[in-house]
Structures are given as structure tokens and as C-alpha cells.
């Protein structure tokens, strides 16, 4: 694998001090001759015992675990308010799981919260409500208390057994006002006593959950705000366990979206959640890049702080977002401008040549020049086509001026091209995987190595892929870093990593010679360790920089002090 990045021939190799810890005596020219015994067969660096500076503390939670957390909150509220768990759950959902606010508001005016949450009927005025209206839906025969204050207690006092059997009545005369099916015999209603047949309820809830992805099921009656509680929903859905499961998933999603330190795994059909309290606030995102992996699969890598669902270390979210936006907006245009236009050497207007001869006249300043050499036309006389005045001082100056005016565009494209190149190379690693697999099989045949022993190839490909992702993002970071010593140090790290990655890349693509296979193995293994180390230095150093507030940007970045 090759890159268009040119490694300078500069002899002064720069390594920062972390480098000294390494036992590999790495040098550009003699890389192939190193005898390495320090690491043997092991990839020692790969074993991570404690958290690195660039890693973030998080836990992955499965759906049942989240449900358990929800249940704790529900039980807590249920205990404090003396209401049924299902009621407590609905109250919490209504207040977006903000327990403190719920408690505060509930203590202030229990009834208004309960009405707004759809667990209690709005007070009727001016006559006191008939006994049925203010009682819970669970029991119309239970002890009635007439004051509204005690409604919550009514809800609590209903025996548990009744909770799971919502009002199901046998009625010959009543016809469901939705389906008008007079053969329906089973009816259900919420505490508002709007009666509908069981099959309509089921249809309705299924439609809400399945097509609208809605977990708040309001009564079907017009303008009725009463919400169906979980036991009712489960009962109404009956044997449709699939919809019930979906309903529970929606509840979990609603909960997760309300809690700042939780985030749902964005990968399709994944139900895991990641909890990352240290990255829960916006201000924390300027000191860290919270890349997390959910427990379902180690390929489910995403950023906790922003919607980018890949590892964008070492760049913080705000800068990553700016860069991606810039790439979307500018890359095509910038490339087009670069390849199709030139600037007038006098007034710097951008000019596209869409036909005709090379004798150009700037529309704006009327400057006449040669499109080929950018020099003034007056020096060309009639022999323009040979452009024999190429080395003429004037045209050289003109080209210099052109170069200068293109500097910012060139600068952007410099970073963008390297960014895009690493991305492309990383994409090609899928191909490399299959190639490597073949190679590994080949090795088993041509040498005495076992399958386990040829794993080093696969490992190397993995490392190359990961480091290319890091490199890719370092170019986004470098584009926005303000120039200065810090940026130079950053770029040195970047260069060392890049060089190492390219060399490893080359090694794993090289043809296999049975004679030298052991040497190759040794070399790849050593290089892999080295690359990994360089990657860590890169990430570690940037992470440290964030914590120290060392990085200064050349633009204003959200959350940072202005540049």
C-alpha cells in the first residue's frame, strides 16, 4: 500500500521523549536489518490493563440492565408517592425521568401533575366528581374518597391482582364506537371509562407502537388525555408479544434519551446503551474525545459526544464536526477550482478557460496574459504557441503571485487529500483482509508455521486500519491547529506515525518468499508493535494537550476560548 504523502529525506529524525522507552532501535534506512528480540512473539503493547489518557471511562448496558435502572427509579417514586408502580412509571415518563423535578412538582400540586401526566382525570367543576370519575380505573367498587388529594392513595390501595385485569365487561347492548362490530363482547377502558372493544384497543396500540414508534398511548376518545399504563397495554396486546417487546424497547429509548449520561448505540437494530457520566456535559467535550464501544459487538464504535458514529480521535467533537462540514461544502468545489481555473496575475480574479486560444484577456482588469505560462502577453509576440518565453522573469513572477493567492486553497487541499487518502486506504483494508487471509494460508503451506503463528499478519492489518483512522483525523486536527511549536510537535508525531504505518503497510503487501518468511514475520511483528506504540503516543499526547489546554485553534471553536 502506498501513499502520496512524501516522507522527507531530512536526516534529523525527531522523536520525543516517550520514544526512549522503546527498545526497538528504529531507523528509517536500516529498518529491515533490525534484530529484535525484545518482544518475541507477543504483542505486549496490545495488552491494556489500565485506562489510557485518551480512553474514556464508560460502561455498556444491555436493555435488561437499563430496565433495572428504570425500575429502581419507579420503585423509589412509587414508594415516596404511595402510588402504583405503573402510575409512578408514567409520572416519571411525563417528567422526562427527572426525578427531583417530579418530586418537587408533585409535592407542590400532586393533582395537577397527575392530570398532566394522564394518570388522573381532570377535576370536574363546579359539582364534585361522581365517585366513579375520580377513582382509579382498577376498581369501581373500592373504598371511595371524595377529596381529590387522596386519588393517589386510591391508586395505591387497589389490590395488585386487580391491576392486571382491566375492566373487561360483558355487554350485549354496548357497541364499540370505533368498529361498530356488534359481535364484540370484550370491552376495556381506562380510568376515564371510555369503553372500546378489546380488538380495537389492540389494533390501536399496535398501530401506535409499530407505525408511529410511540410509547405514550393515550385514550382513543377525542380530547381525552388519560394514558394507558403498562399493565393495560400488555393485557390489550394479549398474545402479540412482538409488539409488547417493541413497546418496552421504546420505553427504554425514551428513558435513555432523557438521561444525559446515557446514549443508545446508533448501530442498526442494536439495543445496547452506553453510560458515560464523564462525557455527559457539553463542556467536558473540549477536554476529551469520548469514543465508546457498546457491549453487543466490538465493531459498534461510536462517539458519545456527537453523532459521528466512527472513532474520530484525536480530534474533539466540535472540530471534527467543523471539518466534516467543510469537506462536504468545499472539497468538490475547491478541487474543481484548482483543476479548472487560474487566477489573473494582476487582479487575482478566478478565470476558467472554456475555449479559444491561450491569449487571455482578463474580463475584469483587461490584463492580457498567456494561459500556459501566465506571463504577460506582450512578451509573447506572435510565437505564443511555443511559449518560448517560459523562463522569462515576468512569467515566473506571475506564477509566484498565482501560487501565493492559491495558498489557502492549497492548504485546505493538502489536508483534505491526505485525509481522503487515509480514508480510502482504510476502506481498502477490507480487501487487504481477504488478501491477507490467503497469504496466511499460503504461509502455512510454504513454511512450518502454524495457523496461530501466522496470526501476526491479521494483527498487522488490524493495526494498520486503526492507525489510518487516527492519521485521517490528525489531518483534520492539523488543518485547524494554530501554527506554533505545539503544532510542530503534533506534526512530528503525525509524521512518525505515518511513516511507520506506510512501512508496515508495505511489509504486509510484500510477496512471500519461503526462505525469508521467518525474517518477515519478525519484521512485521516488530513493526506492528512499533506502529501501535506510535499510535498511542499520538493519541496520548493529544489527549494530554486537551487536558492541559495546550491546543490552540486558528478558528473559533465552540467551547474553546476564541483563537
Amino acid at each position: 500500500m502506498s501513499s502520496d504523502y512524501e516522507i522527507s529525506d531530512d536526516e534529523n529524525e525527531y522523536y520525543d521523549e516517550e520514544d526512549d522507552e522503546m527498545e526497538v532501535d528504529y531507523d528509517d534506512g536500516s529498518a529491515s536489518e533490525i534484530e529484535v528480540d525484545a518482544f518475541g512473539d507477543d504483542f505486549k503493547v496490545a495488552v491494556r490493563s489500565e485506562r489510557k489518557l485518551y480512553e474514556v471511562d464508560y460502561t455498556s448496558l444491555s436493555q435488561p440492565e437499563i430496565e433495572k435502572i428504570m425500575q429502581t427509579d419507579v420503585d423509589h417514586i412509587s414508594g415516596i408517592f404511595g402510588v402504583e408502580p405503573a402510575v409512578a412509571a408514567q409520572l416519571l415518563r411525563h417528567m422526562n425521568w427527572n426525578k427531583e423535578r417530579l418530586i418537587e412538582k408533585y409535592m407542590d400540586n400532586a393533582s395537577s401533575v397527575a392530570v398532566a401526566a394522564g394518570v388522573e382525570l381532570p377535576p370536574r367543576e363546579p359539582t364534585p366528581p361522581p365517585p366513579k370519575a375520580s377513582s382509579s380505573r382498577l376498581s369501581s367498587t373500592g373504598p371511595q374518597r371524595t377529596t381529590r388529594r387522596t386519588t393517589a392513595e386510591n391508586l395505591k390501595s387497589s389490590p395488585k391482582s386487580k391491576r392486571t385485569t382491566p375492566l373487561v365487561e360483558e355487554s350485549k347492548e354496548f357497541v364499540c364506537p370505533i368498529c361498530f362490530d356488534d359481535t364484540q363482547t370484550e370491552f376495556m377502558s381506562l380510568i376515564c371509562e371510555h369503553k372500546f372493544c378489546a380488538s380495537c384497543w389492540k389494533e390501536y396500540i399496535t398501530s401506535k407502537v409499530r407505525t408511529e414508534a410511540e410509547c405514550k398511548i393515550a385514550c382513543m376518545a377525542e380530547d381525552c388525555n388519560i394514558v394507558a399504563l403498562d399493565p393495560f397495554v400488555e393485557k390489550a396486546l394479549g398474545d402479540d408479544r412482538e409488539t409488547w417487546t417493541r413497546y418496552q424497547e421504546l420505553l427504554v429509548r425514551q428513558f435513555v434519551s432523557c438521561i444525559p449520561h446515557l446514549k443508545f448505540c446508533p448501530y442498526p437494530s442494536c439495543t445496547h446503551t452506553v453510560s458515560c457520566p464523564s462525557a455527559a456535559t457539553k463542556s467536558s467535550l473540549i477536554t476529551m474525545v469520548p469514543i465508546v464501544t457498546c457491549g453487543a459487538s466490538n465493531t459498534h464504535v461510536f462517539c458519545f459526544g456527537c453523532p459521528i458514529d466512527t472513532d474520530h480521535r484525536p480530534v474533539v467533537c466540535a472540530v471534527a464536526k467543523m471539518w466534516l462540514q467543510k469537506c462536504r461544502d468545499d472539497s468538490e468545489t475547491a478541487n474543481w477550482i484548482k483543476s479548472n481555473t487560474k487566477e489573473c496575475s494582476k487582479c487575482q480574479s478566478t478565470i476558467e478557460k472554456n475555449g479559444g486560444c491561450n491569449h487571455m484577456t482578463c474580463k475584469k482588469c483587461k490584463y492580457e496574459f498567456c494561459w500556459v505560462c501566465m506571463g504577460p502577453w506582450t512578451e509573447h509576440g506572435t510565437s505564443w504557441y511555443s511559449c518560448n518565453r517560459y523562463e522569462e522573469k515576468n512569467s515566473v513572477d506571475a506564477r509566484d503571485a498565482q501560487t501565493k493567492s492559491r495558498a489557502s486553497l492549497e492548504r485546505y487541499l493538502h489536508y483534505y487529500n491526505r485525509w481522503a487518502n487515509h480514508e480510502q486506504s482504510a476502506k481498502l483494508s477490507m480487501e487487504l483482509y481477504t488478501k491477507t487471509e490467503k497469504k496466511m494460508e499460503e504461509m502455512q503451506v510454504t513454511s512450518e508455521l502454524t495457523w496461530i503463528q501466522v496470526q501476526f499478519m491479521k494483527k498487522a492489518v488490524d493495526v494498520v486500519f486503526r492507525c489510518r483512522m487516527t492519521l485521517k483525523w490528525t489531518y483534520a486536527m492539523a488543518y485547524y491547529l494554530a501554527s506554533g511549536n505545539e503544532k510542530e510537535l503534533f506534526e512530528d508525531n503525525q509524521r512518525d506515525l505515518e511513516r511507520a504505518v506506510e512501512e508496515l503497510s508495505e511489509l504486509i503487501e510484500a510477496p512471500i518468499d519461503p526462505e525469508t518468511i521467518m525474517t518477515l514475520r519478525q519484521k512485521v511483528t516488530d513493526k506492528t508493535v512499533y506502529v501501535q506504540k506510535r499510535n498511542e503516543i499520538m493519541l496520548e499526547d493529544t489527549a494530554k494537550g486537551y487536558l492541559e489546554g495546550r491546543w490552540k485553534w486558528n478558528v473559533t471553536v465552540e467551547g474553546f476560548d476564541s483563537a
Binding site: 364506537p177 370505533i178 368498529c179 361498530f180 362490530d181 371510555h194 372500546f196 380488538s199 380495537c200 389494533e203 390501536y204 398501530s207 401506535k208 407505525t211 382513543m220 376518545a221 377525542e222 380530547d223 381525552c224
Partner: protein, 220 residues
């Protein structure tokens, strides 16, 4: 029998038996899920005397999803698109409830005609007209009712049968004098109407649209 079909049949039958509301629902062809509803324009509104037709499509999981309705009859109303007949009404979207029926929804449309909500418009031009000059808006709405919904129109002015150009002006909700003023400058009448309507021109001193700007627009 399919629950949806039973429900729709019942609704159509109910509507037929109820003569007092003057709301009708008819089949377009043999398909009971594509219907045409009709109701009278409410009294004491510019829509009085008109008969308004509504295209009704019953979705697959009706009544758990709202019906799709749009006006077939052209209506001049802030919450109804003057071009497509699309309706902006909450019960046709998230405030839908399965207990609502075709008839009750049509009656809601009728009451929408009584109480326009220009701050949440479907047709921005009409809404602007309504906000700038309610009387002028009502005049146009009445004219539309007369032309499209068979309403009586205003006594004297603008009865159908007069020349087509006059109708065009009234249709756009414009003042004849304004159109004539710019026509006199040598612009094509239909262009004048188009520009004035687009700019929502209600005279030079309303909404700071001076004559120069209109001419500028006309010259484009």
C-alpha cells in the same frame, strides 16, 4: 368482514340517514376507501352559500390512523392551499382520535372555514392577505365561493358572465384600480396580476411596497 370496511360502510350509512347536517359522503367509484365528502359553507362567513367538496382517502389502518382529506373545491382560506386543496388541521395529523368519524371530521372542516388560523398558515399568500386586509380577503373569499363553490357572490359586482379579465383580478384578490394603474404603464394585464399577487400589493402605502418596486419587479 373487514373491520375497516364495516366501519366505513356504517359511517356512510349514518351520514345518509342524517339529513339535518347536510353533510354527504359518496363513493368515487366502487372503492369504499376513496370517497367524496361535501358540506355547506358556514353561515355568516364569506363561504356562505357555497357547497364544498372534499376528497377522502381511507388509509389501511383506519380508524387508527387519520383519514387523508383535501379540498376538491378551490377555497380561499389561510389554512387551505389555494393550489392543491391541502388542509392544515391538527385532527388530520397528531390530534386524530379513532372515535372521530368522517362526518365529524367534515364538520370540523366546516368549522375551520368559520375560524381561520392565519398564524399557522397552509397558504402563506392567502394568510398575508388575511392579515393585511381582512375585508379585502373576505371579498376575494366570497368571490371564490361564488365561482368555484356555486355561492351567490356579492350583489352587483362581479357576477359570473362578466368579462374574464375582471374575474381574474377578483380571483387574485386585487383592486381593479391598482391593476389598471400598472396596465396603463404598458404592462401585460396577466403579468401585472401575477406580480401584484405575488407581492401582495394592497396599494402603495400598505406594507411599504412602493410603485417603483412593483415596476422593477414587472421589468424582470
Amino acid at each position: 368482514m373487514d373491520a375497516r370496511l364495516r366501519r366505513v360502510n356504517k359511517e356512510i350509512a349514518d351520514c345518509k340517514s342524517d339529513k339535518s347536517s347536510r353533510v354527504t359522503i359518496d363513493l368515487v367509484d366502487d372503492n369504499p376507501f376513496h370517497l367524496i365528502g361535501a358540506f355547506d359553507g358556514p353561515e355568516d362567513t364569506p363561504y356562505e352559500g357555497g357547497r364544498f367538496q372534499v376528497d377522502i382517502v381511507i388509509p389501511d389502518n383506519y380508524p387508527f390512523q387519520p383519514v387523508k382529506m383535501k379540498f376538491i373545491t378551490k377555497v380561499y382560506h389561510p389554512n387551505i392551499s389555494s393550489a392543491s386543496g391541502a388542509i392544515c388541521l391538527d385532527i388530520l395529523k397528531d390530534a386524530w382520535s379513532p372515535v372521530l368519524t368522517l362526518k365529524s371530521t367534515l364538520i370540523s372542516l366546516q368549522s375551520l372555514l368559520c375560524s381561520p388560523e392565519p398564524r399557522d398558515p397552509q397558504d402563506a399568500e392567502v394568510a398575508k392577505h388575511y392579515m393585511t386586509s381582512k375585508s379585502s380577503f373576505e371579498k376575494t373569499a366570497r368571490y371564490w365561493t361564488m365561482i368555484y363553490a356555486g355561492g351567490p357572490g356579492e350583489d352587483g359586482a362581479g357576477r359570473p358572465g362578466k368579462d374574464a379579465a375582471k374575474d381574474e383580478i377578483a380571483m387574485a384578490g386585487l383592486d381593479r384600480a391598482h391593476v389598471a394603474q400598472f396596465e396603463a404603464l404598458g404592462f401585460d394585464r396577466s403579468k401585472v396580476i401575477d406580480v401584484l399577487r405575488r407581492m401582495n400589493y394592497r396599494g402603495a402605502n400598505v406594507a411599504n411596497i412602493n410603485d417603483d418596486r412593483v415596476v422593477e419587479e414587472l421589468l424582470k
